[in-house]
């Protein structure tokens, strides 16, 4: 039963990811991306990583989707994705080979027995990975600067004006 649940959620995520990539409209792709976030959050919740599931759902399906919709509304007509430079069959074959190789490399890792002893999250986050917390604070400040750049109404000179 658990296997079927994981399988359904992940299959949905993979289908949504493919649809997001091949869809012509960026707005449609943004909605598919939000669906992927929700499905991945469900898998994370089932895995026992409830904190990460909540973060992923609120940030991935909420904040990032809102930012994407805002960016599409600013970009306007250019939101349509043009045809790719790399031929799609070539890209498909290359990625297929890489994915199969990756699968052969990582699947033996699951054969090992699952260790059930677990380090508490509070100790891992606030003691062992305290540097990560400081880096996250710095990243959030840079994110604020990024939002200012996103919301900035000031129009920089166009490329023709720069060359003059």
């Amino acid at each position: 039963m658990e296997t079927i649940q994981y399988g359904l959620f992940l299959l949905g995520a993979i289908v949504c990811a493919y649809r997001a990539i091949v869809s012509k409209k960026i707005l449609t792709a943004a909605i598919y991306l939000a669906c992927i976030s929700a499905l991945v959050s469900a898998v994370l919740y089932l895995l026992g990583a409830t904190q990460v599931a909540v973060m992923e759902l609120s940030v991935g399906a909420g904040l990032v989707t809102v930012l994407l919709v805002y960016a599409v509304s600013v970009v306007g007509d250019d939101a349509l994705d043009p045809a790719s430079v790399v031929p799609k069959p070539l890209a498909f074959v290359m990625v297929g080979v890489v994915t199969i190789l990756l699968g052969f490399m990582v699947f033996p890792a699951v054969e090992k027995n699952v260790d059930t002893s677990s380090l508490a999250l509070s100790i891992a986050l606030w003691k062992n990975r305290v540097l990560d917390v400081w880096i996250q604070i710095a990243l959030i400040f840079s994110g604020v600067m990024g939002v200012l750049g996103l919301l900035s109404e000031k129009t920089p000179g166009r490329i023709e004006e720069i060359h003059k």
């Binding site: 296997t3 995520a13 991306l33 994370l44 250019d78 045809a83 890209a91 994915t99 380090l119």
Partner: protein, 102 residues
Amino acid sequence: MLTPLNVILFGVVALLGVGFYGLLITRNLIKVVMVLQILVKAVILALVLAGKLSGNMGLGISTAATVIVADTIVAVVGLALAVQVRRRFGTVDVPQISTLRG
């Protein structure tokens, strides 16, 4: 044997494959940011799975949380960059803005 962890690992590898394919065929800057989001979601799943397999679930969760924060900042800065590029160059098509070279 099709265990739940095998299914998750298959999903991670498939999501990574779809993301790499998207990176190769995408030309729109905003869509590139979206494809990066797909790749990072696969990585988050892989980190939590690795934490579960190694018995360090707390470590896996804390690392995944850091990745989520970094990924969000990448999305914000990438979208801000795309909007500014659109305002300056009038397009978000990557080959067309290759005139950026100095």
